[in-house]
Symmetry: D3
Subunit: 308 residues, 6 copies
């Protein structure tokens, strides 16, 4: 037997995989796709999901430096930490916003207005951060008050995926409203991957919002949610059917998701579809399938199960 | 056109985002929140989720060094690897336990008893590790025997999210019982994020437990599960309603989740709520909504679907 | 008060956790398990999940270098980037394939045929990559056309978890067919962890496949899916019951999951179990529980919910 | 031939190196040494060279943020960057200072005074930083003015090893004077490793000091250097002989290195030994060996070389 | 005793270092220096030493992929590796060159010509790489032939600091000639730090050049070295004295270093100063101090040492 | 002005550097060199300098775990740390040794004997580690006793470059003697780069050896050094001239460096060349140039310098 790793390495290094053909074929597929889609071989750059993940982490620690920041952060140094983190995160965001504006413009001719627009969006976003922190504090309090298993405010802040998803959403929604929907969507999908909760950045959500457990929640683009609403895992606030135009293409941008008024509770697995309204103070039971509006104060439950 | 990256960098460096105001406003929100919540500006440090993630990874590789440890681990070196990994992981855990004990005590005056308590918890936890490994071996075997797609024990151990979630749970539950519920919860949420399976660390789970597929499973704090139980994806073992006290606040800590006896199978999407008992050997069908106890040997299924 | 970190460090360093016993007990459990399972203390190495994650990331960027590759990739350098990435990813894959072949063989005696087989599998896999890219382009187009919230092809490619899961699946399925089911399963579970979508690598999936939202989707090993099929979140294509042989052991490898024909849409939460056929062009409503075949053109919906 | 890497890996994993004996023997040597040197097996921790290297890098970038800090540092964010960097670097330094004070005390009983002393040293050091920056600016100017190859102030600051070594020295010397000679020495040796220039942190050095090229320069502990002094590579300012006490041990701490007055230039390779004085304005030629004082304005050169 | 690390951490976090004053004072020093030196507070960015170090590492591996590249580089993949490495290294270099051109221009108004100039320099540099590899092969051969301790060509290439320093020099010299002297100097100082050998990038060096041992070698900016020259450690080829203009400032850019003709050997510690010529085939002995030209074929040695 | 970074990035991505020609030319140079030197295009792999640096760091921390190991190393865990570190470091070394043996063999046909030889060398090296630790303890003591600036044993161990260089040398020398001179040389050059001290791994060095300051020291391959020898910076123990054979090639492997007997001190900058003997107890003065043997007890000094 002559089985030794050096010889194995050698064998591996000299085995040919005939990749030149694969590279050439991949080039053919790629260039064909590029030419079909964009008419040239030089595609504009997209915002980077990885960079955005770092930016959002930075913003979260700037919002909650004592709880989510570095463990050795000294009391005396908090403001410098927040200032430094905002500076680097927001300037990185400005560059990503430029990428999106440029990508959307479909032109290679950039001008000063585009840069100025990206800077204005970033500044407007920065100015909103204190208000976002305030509303997040209310969300955290709502989570604490709504879950008997919660032992304290801080546990809720650092543990609950529902709170993390709402934090990302409130940042993403701001960017969505400021005119960068692609960046907003990327942030929303980063949150989706980590929490199992998908909230489209277009969704409008009121104060003191709480999602418990959360895995499988889907909240659609044109959803409107009032104050003091509570959702459980696997709730869908979705569209019922899609409008098509005369060519059979989907009509995009129409309000097609539910309106959930103040003080509604929706239990696990409920599916609520279409531009219907769940009246103020209603309770929707688990696994309910609902495609029509219900008046304020409704209590909707599922058909019974039974023994074989 | 004068579009060059150096000039762009320069523009970016000199664009002002007026962050000083944002930093000041964030300080106002933060200090107000701190004073309201804790009465001082010097909050105690929480255990770190990131550090705990590393500790748990270390413990898993110490439990299964050949399967989850480094690929170049030599047979001769396994014990040293296990010993070294336990040493560093458990000492890091001791520090995190101190943080939790101190955080819970609400005092800045620490004394030797607190340190001694943290050390005792760590030692007690360490002593439990061999028993945890034994029970995990039974879980893995149950997974292998319960899934026709499983090709081997090792595939189950390294691939199945249900097995990963149960491993984390058995470690977290031990810490929960030893008096560190916050650390336990953080570990549970790390597992939730990676597997989509949420098991509250307070849940009591018997031997040979298997969750197949797993995404969306929720198992509540006071759940009690017997031996040889099998769950599928999106099963909820939850609370039906929450008790409130005379001030309208939730009463925390009451037994409010199901008891699942030995040899029960619960299929995908079933929702079982409240302090009810699922009798030994029962089978609960997919998507079933169940809020009452069922006797041993029951077979519960959902109402039929039908054509339009 | 004499509370200083240096002294604390000292205390920590000198506290004994009595780990020698723990190490010894863990060795006992481990060696017993090894002897029971394999008959010797020298277990073969499994493929590494972490290494596979890196390989798959490499392959995805080689397939879509402009969209998923490094942000500074120059037009002139794309082919070199693709070639270099394929070279290192595929050679790393070859080593992992060797591990699986060796692990499966249950022997310590390796021979040249095994290496040659691993190299052939890798070469065959490499040759399939351009075709995989072509079919993925169709999947991306189907997603764009099927979701009114999608603003563009590129947003779909970089944001949608359904697209990511299908990409991983098409790579994993190829490896499954080429004889490395364990590696294929590991890749599938990496995708499951990141997207909440579980597709067994054995599943056969036609062209223009789209999973929207996706969290909680489970697609079983022997599932067969036609062209132009669309699934929503939490859909299960599962097995109804498992066959046992005369010894009470599960019979593995039997076709036990649904056949979904062309142009079928299955809405959120539907559970479809057993080797049944969903006829071409059918629509299965949300939360439906279905265990029998339905003819082409069927529209299946759930029983109604109702008010209390 | 059956030479494949998997089998090689296997061989490597199962080859025994009989390390248990080596571990045991190393333990014997180690514990014997510990008992001889310290009388117990629980040695106090030393300051960490690696941690100090990071601290010093932090301090250098805080002193010159535009030149040595991150390339994306915005004008608006410089103060926050400096504040954050000082906060984390100096707090890390405080911990290292505690280690040294504790190590020096030779006791396991720490008290508040030691902590307070470490904090005072750190604060005193912090207060000196602006003055250090001012004096470094003069050193940089001297380097620019003294080297015909220097194209600009910034080139000197970022390229010249002599400037780097003097920067480290001025920081190390401050710490030496404040009572932490071990930390100071470690910093000095980090600089030595990177620049080839060794300046003992005890050396007193005046304004506008410049070392050109620098490799091989040695400046001893009790050296005193005036203003406007320039040295070239491989200059030694050393001790001539060492005093021994009645037991034959070296007497430590005696002034034994040269005094170099203002406006002296010492060319490459000159060796100047003992507590002698080089008078103001003197020039010492290359490779000169000098062990006696010279008056102001001297010009010392080496004996001639000659042809064979 | 209440000495525990958590309390120590707390103490550390709450100790004030009064850094706000330090930050403010540092700002004063910094802004004064900036205004004095540049007239504005917005300094242009320098090329980055750290980025250049990565670029040069990339270029070295592209020149010698089998010897200095990654250990798993397959024969089939070498060209793709080289192409990819050149692409990313040279584009990063182009950006650094822009920084230098912009920095030198002293203007904030950039235009297309500057970018075009940076691109041209990069292209010209790229075209020179094959010739640089050829000349380096001759240097390596000269080292092998000149050192009895050398066991093989490859040992020389990967071990010898003299070879590393010459490699860096040949790259730096090219950039120096193409008009980026600051980048060239930074590269030269990176080599100096790692090898102890300082070669100013302006120095002109012929073929088959070898520096043995190398520590302390200094080769000045206007040095001219012929073919087949060999130097030993601590050799200085320096300037004798510096010309000053009527204002007392150094005149920069004058030829002031030696000319070393073909086939010269200079032994360790020799110091050769001024624009003198060492005639072809001469040998300069160790520690010699030489400030006058010597004719071809000279053998120069040091004065004798003697016993006390 | 339209100078924005996105446009700059775009420009950079689309600028062509015409690298295909460069890649092709580099291939030509490379393949010509390979064919000339080795006769085939498939060069064997060299040991890796980077991997060796990691191995040596591991071994140093295994020798001195309390001083050079991780700062959180607990007393209880030292043996496990040492065992684990030795296991991984020495197995990595075994692989590197295989590379060297294979490289030296000049054959692609490996057999079991080569593996066995690599394993034996590794085992022999491992067995020597306790003795190396013992002799290093004596070196450290010698350094402490020989330098008036040394405050303690531990300062010497962690600060002094001379001690670091001797540690590396004693490990490298062992490997040199065991038959892996290339690995030994690489280790020696890693030490050279970090300390400025070059000790050829072939040099034989007795007990209680101390190099003070160290930069520029060169100790040649066939040097023999007795016990209690002390060197200062820039000392050369070199060869005087090289023997050539009848073809004009250097004769390699002949004893050509000095023998330094016990209790010798050699001061800074002394150059001692050729196979001469420095008799026991001699003192060689600074900058001395010595090419003949001196009897025991000699005191050699340099010629005097003088004033102009």
């Amino acid at each position: 037997m002559t089985d030794i790793s050096v010889a194995g390495d050698l064998l591996l290094k000299t085995t040919t995989l005939q990749l030149d053909n694969v590279v050439a074929e991949l080039r053919d597929v790629r260039t064909t796709a590029l030419l079909n889609r964009q008419g040239n071989l030089n595609p504009p750059q997209l915002p980077s999901r990885k960079v955005l993940a770092g930016i959002i982490d930075g913003l979260r620690t700037a919002l909650y430096p004592n709880r989510l920041g570095p463990s050795d952060l000294a009391v005396e140094g908090v403001d410098h930490y927040v200032g430094h983190t905002l500076n680097s995160s927001l300037r990185a965001l400005l560059v990503q916003i430029q990428h999106e504006l440029y990508f959307n413009s479909g032109t290679e001719e950039l001008n000063h207005e585009t840069y100025a627009q990206a800077a204005e969006i970033t500044q407007a976003f920065a100015r909103r951060l204190p208000a976002i922190r305030r509303i997040l504090d209310e969300d955290v309090l709502a989570a604490y008050q709504g879950d008997p298993a919660a032992r304290g405010i801080d546990e809720v802040l650092v543990c609950y995926p529902g709170v993390a998803a709402v934090t990302w959403h409130r940042l993403a929604h701001e960017l969505y409203q400021l005119g960068t929907p692609l960046i907003a969507r990327m942030i929303s999908e980063i949150a989706h991957s980590q929490t199992g909760i998908e909230i489209h950045p277009g969704a409008q959500i009121g104060k003191s919002f709480f999602i418990d457990h959360g895995t499988g929640v889907v909240i659609g683009e044109t959803t409107v949610i009032g104050n003091n609403v509570r959702l459980y895992q696997a709730v869908t606030l979705g569209a019922k059917s899609f409008q098509v135009d005369e060519h059979g293409s989907l009509v995009k941008g129409i309000a097609r998701h539910p309106i959930v008024e103040d003080d509604v509770v929706i239990y696990a697995g409920a599916t609520i579809l279409g531009r219907i309204t769940i009246g103020r103070g209603s309770t929707i039971g688990g696994n309910v399938w609902l495609t029509r509006s219900v008046p304020p104060g409704s209590r909707i439950t599922q058909a019974q199960t039974h023994n074989d």
